[in-house]
């Protein structure tokens, strides 16, 4: 089966091939296969963890509906907080060969706070194992696939911090889809680190419905080899005085491909809203392919929107300086990559989570 995901809300010229992405030959997850790929779930006492068959949070997502074809009947894990919880919920995934899927709901009650860490890892697949892997039986090789959809619901004055770390090995197609809504003064901080993978799709829809609700997004990615990263972020301002702030920072070396779609959508009535989006990409090799489409849609007069992008190689003077100090080119890459990741990790409010991630990386 083929699916089209990550559709940009306002399409542009088809020849750019940026309006959406078509993923061919996807497989559907079946619950009967179990959840062996969820290696650990740590839930603080103050957070209620339940298991359901279907989502009850109704929200759009960044990737769109067609990703449901992979998610199949995956179990829905719901985590709910009704007060401020300082300890994080930790969900560790170790994706296996074949198809893995997980659905997660995060519910934050009025004036409550919750921190959730999702750790996306995969076990090393057998060398060349997917070369002969034909799960769909159509005579074509199928990559292993893993899909996670996280929906959230933040009530008035609540705050959710979601930290996602991807350090996947090769030969895996990974889908990370997020969507949710926020009531008045509800805050959502989304921190995403992509430091390893093969073919990854990221989508996020942030519904800023309530007055003064906020969305803060920090993304850092390091791509190398022939990695592929395809992203679609849609920040939907409908509430008055809503604020969004997106910072995307990446390093690309060898021959990876990355496509970032970021849309700030100011709907009529969101008076006083502010949205900003900034992308900073360091290109380290001549075979990289970097595509970016930062969109602002504005149907309201009283808003402030901005986006900026800075894309290029490391400044020659900086390179010369570092080399003159005896740092080899490879070392410079490592240093820049570490700086990008650290700058994002350092924004994580909890020391224990910062340490957890640094240990992980």
């Amino acid at each position: 089966m083929d699916i089209q995901i990550n559709k940009i809300p306002s399409p542009t010229w088809n020849w750019l091939q940026m309006n959406e992405v078509k993923v061919e030959n996807v497989q559907t997850y079946n619950k009967q296969n179990g959840e062996a790929y969820i290696s650990k779930i740590e839930t603080p006492n103050a957070v209620n963890h339940t298991v359901e068959d279907e989502f009850d949070v109704d929200a759009a997502t960044g990737m769109g509906d067609e990703v449901a074809n992979i998610l199949g009947d995956a179990t829905v894990h719901t985590f709910a907080a009704d007060r401020a919880v300082n300890e994080p919920v930790v969900i560790e995934y170790k994706f296996l060969q074949g198809v893995s899927a997980s659905r997660v709901q995060l519910k934050v009650s009025s004036n409550a706070e919750m921190i959730v860490v999702q750790d996306f890892a995969s076990v090393l697949l057998e060398q060349g194992s997917n070369e002969s892997d034909d799960v769909t039986g159509d005579g074509q090789n199928d990559k292993s696939e893993a899909a996670v959809e996280t929906r959230y619901d933040i009530a008035a004055g609540g705050h959710l911090t979601l930290i996602q770390v991807q350090h996947l090995k090769k030969d895996l197609r990974f889908y990370n889809n997020i969507g949710g809504n926020q009531e008045a003064e509800g805050g959502f901080t989304l921190i995403q680190l992509v430091v390893g993978g093969d073919e990854s799709y990221y989508g996020c829809f942030a519904g800023l419905q309530g007055h003064k609700s906020t969305f803060e997004n920090r993304i850092a990615y390091l791509l190398s080899g022939t990695d592929k990263l395809d992203m679609n972020y849609d920040i939907d301002h409908t509430g008055t005085k809503t604020v969004s702030d997106v910072l995307v920072s990446g390093v690309m070396r060898d021959a990876p491909k990355k496509l970032f779609r970021g849309t700030i959508d100011f709907h009529r009535g969101c008076a006083g809203a502010k949205g900003s989006e900034l992308e900073d990409v360091l290109l380290m090799d001549e075979a990289v392919r970097n595509q970016t489409i930062p969109v602002i849609l504005c149907d309201e007069e009283d808003v402030e929107g901005s986006h900026g992008a800075s894309i290029g190689k490391l400044d020659e003077k900086m390179m010369f300086y570092m080399k003159s100090r005896g740092i080899p080119e490879e070392g410079i890459y490592e240093m820049m990559a570490k700086a990008k990741i650290d700058s994002i990790v350092n924004e994580i409010p909890l020391e224990s989570v910062r340490r957890y991630i640094k240990d992980l990386l």
Binding site: Q291, I293, V295, I296, C298, E301, V303, K313
Partner: protein, 469 residues
């Protein structure tokens, strides 16, 4: 409490006049192979052009209407007259020989006055045909060719035309390029020889008078190595209740170390579908400068494209788009960096008011071999009221690492503090807002020749001055 401002629509009496042509020659409405053959026969096309037209029609019939831009549902090709020739039309070089009605039209638009004062040559097109073409003797003496494209097809430049015609914008590019290939008529051919610098601009002015008609002029400019030209294009039409269509095509070839500035003040009436295609190819060390002011049309799809083919070639794109009531203007630019050390600078302003929709759309592509290339994009949008819309859709596709790409965009409203400050200095609110908008659009006005900058500022003032309550 904030005081809301209502800005009235533009007073278009300057452009909104027309005369009825009873005896004009028209082809039937719609688009068929017979109509295309009829136009070809009227134009006395060489055989290759007739074949080209018919092939383009096939392409047109096979292609889909674009799905990504403003709606063009109100445009029904079955109702469009693709060719209208004024009665007793012949292209003349003496202004006094232009038929009186047509002459009056251009007089009211100020074309002959501009020619006398500040232009090296003028072409005036009325509906589907050029009615006047003239170039100053001293410019002609330099070897500069400025003529109508049809004459050029049969003269000494015939081979040059065949070599370049719709090579930059092939009919397969999009549906309306194919339409243009099938039914084009009128337009200008300019050739500036090696090393010649044309000190004052050339201008073509396009006037569409006929209701329910289309204008499909083709502009082909070749600026040879080391040469320099400023070309100005103006367009307007009276308003009708039926849809009019403009699907022109501009192809610009900028030679090695040559420079071409292409300025447009577009002020079509607000029943016009402006589906125009403009493209430039720039050789080594050459430079293309686009200056673009879009004020008219009901719907616009307008994205001048620059292909920076040669090493060290450059592009500057400066534009302002002003979308008022009933207008959906989708404008922007495309730049493809092919050569090494190429650079592009894009600086645009969009203004939306009175329910108008403006969209800035761009694409910057840095090719695999375009090492050392630089691109900077700056786009700003201004929302004048709460019933308008402004979108920004810029795309960047970078295929090599040795490049430096910067992009910034801002969207906002007229600052109350600034209006208050100007009012405290004795200005009315209306004047204060008009001044702020004029200042906002000064990226374009300061690049235009003085007479045109004044005209553009007058247009903005007309747009902004209405009743404020």
């Amino acid at each position: 409490m904030k005081e809301k401002t209502i800005v009235e629509d533009i007073d278009r009496s300057l452009y909104d006049f027309r005369f009825e042509q009873k005896d004009a020659y028209r082809v039937q409405e719609g688009l068929t192979a017979d109509i295309v053959r009829q136009i070809s026969q009227e134009k006395n096309d060489p055989q290759w052009m007739t074949d080209f037209r018919l092939k383009s029609l096939e392409t047109y019939n096979q292609m889909e209407v674009p799905q990504w831009g403003p709606s063009i549902e109100g445009l029904n090709m079955d109702n469009i007259v693709t060719y209208v020739r004024p009665k007793d039309n012949k292209m003349v070089k003496d202004w006094d020989e232009v038929p009186t009605d047509i002459k009056d039209t251009f007089e009211r638009l100020g074309i002959p006055q501009a020619e006398r004062k500040s232009l090296a040559g003028v072409g005036a097109q009325f509906d589907s045909e050029l009615v006047y073409h003239n170039v100053r003797d001293e410019v002609a003496a330099q070897g500069v060719v400025y003529t109508d494209l049809e004459s050029a097809l049969h003269g000494e430049y015939a081979d040059m035309i065949q070599e370049h015609f719709m090579k930059l914008v092939p009919p397969t590019d999009h549906k309306f390029a194919a339409l243009h290939g099938a039914v084009w008529s009128g337009g200008s051919f300019v050739y500036v020889p090696l090393g010649v610098k044309v000190e004052i601009p050339l201008q073509s002015y396009f006037r569409l008078n006929e209701p329910g008609a289309g204008q499909f002029e083709h502009t082909l400019i070749i600026v040879d190595e080391g040469a320099d030209l400023h070309f100005i294009e103006g367009c307007s039409a009276p308003k009708y209740n039926v849809a009019n269509l403009h699907a022109g095509c501009v192809e610009l070839f900028v030679g090695k170390n040559a420079k071409l500035r292409y300025s447009t003040i577009e002020n079509w009436s607000k029943n016009m579908y402006n589906l125009n295609t403009k493209r430039a190819r720039v050789e080594e060390g050459g430079k293309i400068e686009w200056i673009s002011g879009s004020f008219g049309s009901h719907v616009s799809y307008l994205y001048p494209m620059s292909i920076l083919k040669g090493d060290n070639s450059r592009c500057e794109f400066t534009s302002v788009t002003f979308a008022g009531r009933g207008q959906n203007l989708d404008t922007g630019t495309k730049v493809v960096h092919v050569g090494k050390d190429t650079s592009s600078y894009i600086n645009t302003r969009s203004i939306s008011k009175d329910g108008g929709i403006s969209t800035f759309r761009s694409a910057v592509v840095i090719g695999e071999k375009a090492n050392g290339s630089k691109s900077a994009v700056s786009c700003e949008s201004l929302m004048v009221d709460g019933i308008s819309r402004s979108d920004t859709i810029p795309a960047m596709d970078i295929r090599c690492d040795d490049c430096d790409i910067g992009h910034e965009a801002k969207i906002g409203r007229i600052s109350d503090d600034t209006v208050f400050y100007l009012m405290s200095r004795g200005m009315s609110e209306e004047d204060a807002r008009a001044l702020i908008v004029s200042g906002f659009a000064d990226n374009v006005s300061k690049e235009l020749p003085l007479e045109y900058a004044v005209e553009m500022n007058n247009l903005i003032n007309l747009e902004m001055k209405g009743s404020i309550g």
